[in-house]
Amino acid sequence: MFERRLYFHIDWALVIALLGLCALGVTMIYSATTGSGSRLFMTQIYAIVIGLGALLVTVSLDYRTFTDKSHLIYIGLCLALIYVIFLGDVQMGARRWISLGGFNLQPSEFAKAGVALVLAKFFGEQRGAPGWPTLAIGGALTLIPLALIAKEPDLGTAVTLVPVFLAVAYLAGMHMRILGILALCLVMAAPIAWKFALKDYQKSRISTFLDPTQDAKGAGYQQIQARITVGSGGLTGKGFMQGTQGQLRFLPVAHNDFIFSVLAEEQGFLGVLVALGLYLFVILRTLEAARLSKDRLGSYLVLGVLASFTFQVVYNITMSAGLAPVKGLTLPLMSYGGSSMIATLAAFGLVLNVRMRRFTN
């Protein structure tokens, strides 16, 4: 299992960056919520502790153990997702949670790592550039959980599975031409999706994004408020717990989807630079882990994990500045949310795992 010498190969820089982001998140949650007497930040700290426990597990076992069992993990996940659709807890109009006695688990958060595992294994067993059949099977493996999550409905989380597939296929050597065709298909599918697949609130969010002023008090409200929140922060920010937009609730769910806006308001552009720097460091460090991996399987796994993480980080930060349509996508490592925190830390355990075992056989 865990060999002593592996300890020296743990990427402590990455661990410190991850913990730094977690700490930043807890600080901002504290600022955004304690004014109303809430103790959400404590819940977040518990989640981080549990997440670190999960990380220990995912780092200890050889990642190949996980990929070998990935089909079982995958099937288990899909069953959990089906369970959620029929028997899950309803909160805010969506069935996303499994209640585990005081703690609500969100299986869709774990689907990201699950899909990364199964795709890494699948593509890892293929030789050469993946052809259409391989891509089709890989695509199908992605689409099943994606459809189940979208059904909850949780379109935001569902969409984060797409980059996992694209990233792994890309690294597996998928022809750029095929990538282009896939991209084209997505563009073509957009109007059809608009017409049939999207719900009204989703449509209004998107059309509002194109022109926020058309509905300044409704759907566009959050977007305008996000921009005001970020913009009014200035270079150095209004100070810890001094933000008016977040503290006075002009910005909804500040501790959750808009945690980065709170950071921008209270810590200013300098705070934003620190956070962006930490995220970029985590991403580049993870890319390096992919590069250093001793096998393709490891690279695929690392990149699969990184893909959904990066997609979510970039989208959420863009949205926090009011520069993208408002969507219920949290900011990994910083937003309030236990399942997300645990799943993300567990996934980074796999990244550390791959890098750490680059010299083992």
């Binding site: 970020v230 270079l235 991403i283």
Partner: protein, 639 residues
């Protein structure tokens, strides 16, 4: 293991991703830099607009006291509930919730909002001007639950006037400043509450305070979190009026019991200080205090009895025989006759080929000026007036204050009319006929006077020729203590021959204390001097022919001063359709009794319950009206 070829390709692809993501993060950083540094000022202002509100702190208007320091007009706290559309998320929802919470019909709320739609969105639209505490509680409790940051409860100082519409016209009323008033300069701004009539209007600059303001931080549902800055309002200056509450109350009480419309004005004849001033019917100025509703306003405006008119300064009435003292003064001062000059009254007299009647059919026989005033003998004044001539009559009537504005510090005063050849030429382009002088000599013809000018007339006769300017403002407290306001200069001043003037005063004394018609005003030991007047609303012939329901009964005047020597009070009482001046004397009696009781420090007389007026109309020809106990002796006109 991966083939070296694959490995190399994967390495390239990873490097590509590396560059791509570095670029993406750089773009993000630049975007934040643009928002947070380049456009910072704009967003900072928007954030401030979000959470900072400036609330007006309305300054209370100055408190108004009577001459004894008794509070007449003060302020009470009231609450208004408004919608500020600037903070509205969904106006429909706000209107619905508000009408539900306040239990108001939704169309009405909608109509109010609609009426103010064109105003700037930051201006509160007042839905409930003077909300009950229950309404305020209902709104403040639910405002947060339903997230209605656009519903505002404001504390507004509201004018509180005495009960029963006491001196309503004198105080006037307040209302929102009109667009014309704002355009008319000064420092008024839209939404200000200003005096619209009475002293509220005349002394608006003194009474109006300076509004303060409060900048507060609010959260997204409009709850005030803390105060950033507070500029307290400055209360308006306090005014002390010349008005005497007890005298005013006596007037109002007597009028209420008498049951007639009309007016009374009571002055200090030495200074022109107004001790009491009333006009009936009155309105309740409190109805205007928090914004009058349209129905009430329309009712007040269309009422045939015209309650908004201040009859004391705006009503023009024929003077009747009260005018006779002006003729007497002219004849005496111009040396046409002396007080002992006698005329024989056979009950009628002929001038310029036309016969003029005295009211007393059998005539008064030989009569001098004192008795002619006491008996109100028409023939005597026809004769003396004819000798004096219209020019001199006009001159002296004017010097005594008739046909002129009194100059009182109330808005909208009307001028009466004392006819003269110039006036006739200017108005009708006709020449004056000597026969008209005969009518004018007993106050008929075109003679028209306002009650306040009648009071000035009596004050001038009382003080010996000084036409004092009636005024209401005695002292002002500008925050550094009370300061006297100098009395306005008299309108004119002549020194009348005191011996001859005494004859008029004697005549007036006899009206009340002798065999005259003013006996109802008599107070033992007070030497009340006065004169009744009964002025036709329509000529006898016209009245006989009239077939309308209009009240055609005569107006009754009583003008007075007391005591005869060194008078302390002067005034005029008019009862519209009061049938006879003696009834007006009964009203004056209660006022005088109150005035002297107060002077002596005796207990004030209680409000009368029955003035025992004689309201049987001797000329009434229509269906039977309720009759009084004893019909009046046959009176033709003018006594």
């Amino acid at each position: 293991m991966a083939a070296p070829e694959d490995r190399r390709q994967a390495g390239v692809r990873l490097s590509l991703l590396q560059y791509l993501l570095t670029v993406v993060f750089t773009v993000l950083a630049v975007s934040f830099w643009i928002l947070q540094v380049v456009q910072h000022d704009k967003f900072e202002e928007m954030a401030a607009n979000n959470h900072q509100r400036t609330l007006a702190l309305r300054a209370p208007r100055g408190v108004v006291f009577d001459r004894d320091g008794r509070v007449l007009v003060e302020n009470r706290h009231s609450y208004s509930i408004s919608i500020v559309r600037e903070h509205t998320k969904n106006l429909d929802r706000t209107v619905q919730l508000m009408s539900a919470v306040l239990d108001l019909p939704e169309p009405r709320v909608r109509e109010i909002v609609e009426r103010h739609r064109r105003e700037p969105a930051y201006r509160p639209i007042v839905i409930v001007p003077d909300a009950t505490l229950a309404q305020v509680a209902a709104v403040t409790a639910r405002r947060l639950d339903f997230e209605l940051p656009d519903v505002v409860v404001e504390e507004v100082p509201t004018r509180q006037y005495p009960v029963d519409a006491m001196a309503a016209h004198l105080f006037g009323y307040v209302g929102e400043v009109s667009d014309a008033q704002v355009a008319g300069g000064s420092e008024l701004k839209s939404g200000d509450i200003v005096g619209q009539s009475g002293i509220e209007r005349v002394y608006n600059d003194l009474l109006m305070g300076d509004d303060g303001e409060k900048r507060v931080v609010v959260n997204s549902v409009g709850r005030e979190i803390r105060t950033l800055e507070e500029l307290p309002p400055t209360e308006g200056k306090r005014l002390e009026l010349t008005l005497d509450y007890d005298v005013q109350k006596a007037i109002e009480d007597a009028f209420t019991v008498a049951g007639f419309n009309g007016s009374a004005v009571v002055l200090d004849p030495a200074t022109g200080e107004v001790l009491g001033l009333s006009s009936r019917p009155a309105y309740d100025p409190n109805a205007f205090a928090s914004g009058i509703d349209r129905a009430t306003w329309a009712t007040l405006n269309t009422d045939n009895e015209r309650p908004l008119q201040d009859r004391a300064i705006q009503g023009r009435y024929p003077s009747g025989s009260v005018f006779k003292m002006a003729v007497a003064a002219a004849a005496l001062e111009e040396n046409i006759v002396d007080p002992d000059y006698k005329v024989f009254c056979p009950g009628h007299a002929t001038f310029f080929g036309r016969s003029f009647k005295c009211w007393k059919a059998g005539g008064h026989g030989w009569i001098d000026m004192r008795h002619a005033i006491e008996q109100s003998c028409n023939v005597y004044f026809y004769t003396v007036g004819n000798m004096t001539g219209i020019d001199k009559i006009h001159k002296w009537a004017t010097l005594l204050g008739l046909g002129e504005k009194s100059g009182i510090d109330l808005p909208g005063e009307n001028k009466g009319l004392v006819p003269s050849p110039e006036w006739k030429r200017a108005t009708f382009n006709e020449k004056w006929y000597s026969g008209e002088t005969i009518s004018v000599s007993i106050g008929q013809g075109a003679v028209a006077v306002t009650p306040v000018s009648m009071a000035v007339y009596m004050a001038t006769l009382a003080n010996g020729g000084t036409r004092v300017t009636p005024h209401l403002l005695k002292r002002v407290d500008d925050g550094q203590g009370w300061k006297d306001v100098p009395a306005p200069a008299p309108q004119s001043k002549v020194t009348m021959n005191s011996d001859r003037l005494q004859a008029i005063r004697d005549g007036l004394w006899m009206v009340v204390n002798g065999a005259g018609t003013g006996g109802r005003a008599r107070i033992a030991g007070r030497d009340v001097s006065g004169k009744t007047g009964t002025a036709q609303v329509i000529s006898n012939q016209g009245r006989a022919a009239a077939r309308s329901d209009r009240d055609l009964r005569d107006n009754g005047w009583f003008v007075f001063f007391a005591p005869r020597d060194n008078p302390q009070i002067a005034g005029a009482v008019l009862l519209e359709h009061g049938v006879h001046g003696a009834n007006a004397a009964a009203v004056a009696h209660h006022v005088l009794e109150t005035f002297f009781a107060k002077k002596d420090g005796r207990p004030l007389p209680p409000a009368p319950t029955d003035l025992k007026l004689n309201i049987v109309d001797p000329l009434y020809r229509g269906p039977a009206r309720p009759t009084g106990d004893d019909p009046r002796p046959d009176v033709v006109a003018n006594n």
